[in-house]
Symmetry: C2
Subunit: 432 residues, 2 copies
C-alpha cells in the first residue's frame, strides 16, 4: 500500500515532536494507521537555521502553498501557531487546505477558538477532515473523549486545569509561600512562562481552550470573546494560606456548565476542596474533570504541553485521518453546533471566598453580616485573624449565591466605614 | 434516514443502563450517530419479571437467536455477563453475531480475556465490528485511549485500579483501621461485593481486565491464565499503617510493562507513594495510569462500574458502530496481536516492603541484613517497632530487585532462628 503523505507546517516545539514520533515509532504507526505515513515536506521560516531534529534538507521549504496545493498530499499538519496578536497565516493555511478537501490536523487553539465557524464552513465545502486533539491539554485525549467516548452523555460540568504555566506558578506559590512576581520571574527563567506572560496569567490561553472544549461538549457555537476571564495576578500567598486553612486549594480553572438551556463559560482562580481530584494536579500538569448525566465523574490527567506529548496527540490525529482517507470517507464527527448565548458572569452562581480588612471594633461582624443577609448572601464559614491589630482580617466562605447579589453586597460593604479594604474575592467550586 | 436497529442481550444492571440512556438522550444520540438507534428486541430470562426500567413487552424475548439471526439488526449488544464459572452462552452469542458480520458491543471482560483469539477469528470472518469499551473500567474511555489516542506511543507502563470492590475495601481498611473480614462483610451488605467475593478479592476480575488492556497496549496475545494474581486477603490494618508511616498507600494494582521485547502482567497489592496520582483514587473509583514514550504520564479516572457509567461506554460504542455501518466499513482498528510470552513473576523486578517478626536481641538486624546482601537485595529504608517486646517488628523497603533473588533471600530468612515470622511482603511501585 502506498504511504500517505503528510505536509508538516512548522518545525518548532510541536512540529519537531511530530517529526520525531513519526520517525521513532514509524513501524507501529504504520500498523495502526493501516499503512505508513510519510512526511513529504516541512514548512520552515529559514532553511538554514540549526534545529533540534535532523530533517533531510530536501524536505524543507519556505513555501507553505507548495504543500497545501500539492494534490499528492492529503494530510496537512499545522503547528506554526499564532504570534504577534494575529491568527495569520495559520488561519489562511488551514482554511485553504480544508477547502481543498484535505485532512487538516492542527494544534492551533487560537485559530480554532476565534474562527471556528469559518473553519467548519471550509470543512463542509471540502469534505475532508479537521482534527485538533493537540489544541487543548496537549497529550490528554480530551477532544476525542467529548466527541466520541462521552457521546451518549449530556455533559453537565467540565472544569479544567488547562494552562500549565499558571498551574506551575500556583503550585510553587502555595508550597513555598512565594509571591506571584517572584514565581513569574522564576518561571520565565525556566522557560515555563513567555517573556510576555499576559496570555497565560490573564487567562486568555485557558479561555481559547475552554471555548473549544465547551463547543464540543455542549454542541454549541461559543463566542470566545464572551468567555469570562480573570487571571491569577491578584492571588497572594496569604490567599493560598487561608485556602489551606479552610480545606481548599486554589487553581486557575476553566469552567463550563450547562443546565440544558443556558451555558456558562468562565476562567478564573478557584478554590476547590483539597480532596477534589483536581486539587492534587500540580506543577505543569493539566487535567479536565467532567460530570456527565450517565458517566458521572470522570477525570483526564497528563501533560498539557511539550514537544512529544503534544506531538503524540497530533500523530494520533494523523492516524485517524489516514483511516478516513483509506476508507474514502470524510471525518464524520465534527459536530453539530447550536447558536448559543452564554450567560453573563453576573447571572452565574457560585460559592465565594471573601477576604476583608476591617477595623477591630465590637459589632463590625454584625454590621457586615447584616449587609450580606440583606443581599441574599448566606455565609457558610468565617475565620477572623489578627485580633487586637488594625486592620483585622475576616475571611468568609459563602453558600451558593448569584454573582449579581454578591457584587451588590460587596458594593455596599466596601463603602462601610468599618471596612478598610476588600482584599480578595475568589470563587469556590466542587464537592470534595 | 432509517434508524439503525440494536438487539440488546440482557436487561440486568448494565442492560438497564443502556436502555435508559438510549431513551433519555435519544435526540442527542441520533445527532451524534448521524441517525437514530432503535432497540429492536431485548433478551431477558423471564418476560414477566419486575424490572428497574420500563420496556415495552412487545420488545422482550427469551430467544437470543431471534435477535442474533435477524438480518435487520446490525448491532448486537451483549450485557448478559458470565456466571457459574462458564463463559456460555455469552461466548456463543458473540461469536455467532461476529461471524454473521454484525457489529457486537460487549461489556464481557471474561469472554474477551479468555477467548480473544476465537473472537478475532470470528470478526475477521464476518467483517463486522467488535467493541468493548465497557469491559474495562466502566465509564472510563481507556480502550479507545489505547487503540486510538495513544496509537503513536509505545506504551511503557500501565498501572490500573480496575476493581472497585477491592479499592472500596482498602480505602475503608486504611481510613478506619478495619480488618479485611470486617470490611468485606460491610461491602457485601452494601452490595459492593458479591456473596462469593473470590473473583474480586483474589484478583481474577482485575486479571481479566489487565489481559484486555495489555493486549491492546502492547499489540500482544496475552494468555490470561499466565497473568500473575495475588489478592488483598492477607492485607492487614497494620500493613496499611506501616505504609502510611513510610509515605505510601496500598492499592490493588493491575500492572503491565513492556521493555520492547518482554511483557510482564501482574495483579497484586502494591504500595505506591502517597503523592502518586493513583494514591488519591479512593472508594469504588477506578483509574488507569499510563506512561507512553511520547505522551509521558497520563491518568484516566472515573466510575468503573454501575448501570449508567457502564451504559455510557456501551452506547458510545453503539454510536461508533453506527458510523461504521452507515459508511459501509468494518471496524478497522481491532488490532495487531503478536504472540507473546509473558515474563514469569520470578523474572520480574520491583521494590518490596517486607515486614518481619523477629526476636529482640542485639545483632538480629545484622544477621538479616547479611542475608539480604548475599542475595543481592539492597535495602532502601527500615523501621523497627516494639523494642523490648517479643517479637519486634522490622519493616524494610528494598531497592529494585529481581523477584527470584528476593524469594531466595526470604527462603533463608524464614529459617533463621531469630526470625519468628515473615508477616507480609508487598511490592512497591511508582515515583511520587
Amino acid at each position: 500500500m502506498d504511504p500517505i503523505k503528510v505536509g508538516l507546517l512548522g518545525l518548532g516545539n510541536v512540529g519537531s515532536g511530530v517529526w520525531e514520533i513519526l520517525q521513532r515509532n514509524s513501524e507501529q504507526i504504520a500498523r495502526r494507521a493501516a499503512g505508513s505515513l510519510e512526511v513529504a515536506g516541512v514548512l520552515v521560516r529559514s532553511i538554514d537555521k540549526p534545529r533540534q531534529v535532523v530533517v533531510p534538507r530536501s524536505l524543507l521549504t519556505t513555501d507553505a502553498w507548495s504543500l497545501i496545493n500539492d494534490p499528492e498530499i492529503p494530510i496537512i499538519v499545522e503547528t506554526i501557531g499564532c504570534s504577534g496578536g494575529t491568527t495569520e497565516p495559520a488561519r489562511s493555511y488551514i482554511i485553504a487546505a480544508l477547502k481543498a478537501g484535505k485532512h487538516v490536523v492542527t494544534a492551533n487553539k487560537e485559530v480554532l477558538a476565534k474562527h471556528a465557524n469559518e473553519l467548519y464552513a471550509a470543512l463542509a465545502e471540502g469534505r475532508g477532515g479537521l482534527y485538533f486533539e493537540a489544541a487543548v491539554a496537549g497529550g490528554i485525549p480530551i477532544i476525542k473523549a467529548f466527541k466520541e467516548s462521552l457521546a451518549a452523555n449530556k455533559t453537565q460540568t467540565l472544569m479544567g486545569i488547562i494552562n500549565g504555566t499558571t498551574n506551575y506558578m500556583l503550585t510553587r506559590m502555595a508550597n513555598e509561600s512565594l509571591s506571584f512576581a517572584d514565581v513569574l520571574a522564576d518561571a520565565q527563567r525556566l522557560g515555563y512562562a513567555e517573556p510576555d506572560p499576559t496570555s497565560d496569567v490573564e487567562g486568555d490561553d485557558a479561555a481559547y481552550k475552554l471555548a473549544i472544549l465547551a463547543s464540543i461538549a455542549f454542541e454549541a457555537d461559543i463566542d470566545v470573546n464572551q468567555v469570562y476571564r480573570e487571571g491569577i495576578t491578584k492571588i497572594t500567598p496569604e490567599d493560598l494560606a487561608y485556602a489551606e486553612q479552610l480545606g481548599f486549594v486554589v487553581k486557575l480553572l476553566a469552567i463550563a456548565k450547562s443546565d440544558g438551556d443556558a451555558i456558562e463559560a468562565r476562567v478564573h482562580p478557584t478554590m476547590i476542596p483539597a480532596k477534589h481530584p483536581l486539587a492534587s494536579v500540580n506543577d505543569v500538569f493539566n487535567a479536565v474533570f467532567v460530570q456527565g448525566d450517565a458517566v458521572g465523574d470522570l477525570m483526564f490527567y497528563g501533560r498539557g504541553a511539550g514537544s512529544l506529548p503534544t506531538g503524540s496527540a497530533v500523530v494520533a490525529d494523523c492516524i485517524d485521518a489516514a483511516h478516513n482517507i483509506r476508507r474514502g470517507v470524510s471525518a464524520p464527527r465534527n459536530g453539530h453546533r447550536e447558536p448559543s448565548k452564554l450567560k453573563s458572569i453576573t447571572e452565574t452562581s457560585s460559592r465565594y471566598y471573601i477576604n476583608l480588612r476591617v477595623v477591630d471594633r465590637p459589632g463590625v461582624l454584625a454590621t457586615i453580616a447584616a449587609v450580606f443577609g440583606e443581599s441574599n448572601v448566606s455565609i457558610e464559614s468565617m475565620i477572623q485573624k489578627g485580633q487586637k491589630q488594625d486592620p483585622v482580617t475576616l475571611a468568609f466562605v459563602t453558600h451558593q449565591v448569584i454573582e449579581r447579589d454578591l457584587q451588590a453586597a460587596l458594593d455596599r460593604i466596601k463603602d462601610l466605614p468599618v471596612v478598610r479594604e476588600i482584599y480578595n474575592v475568589i470563587r469556590v467550586e466542587g464537592e470534595a
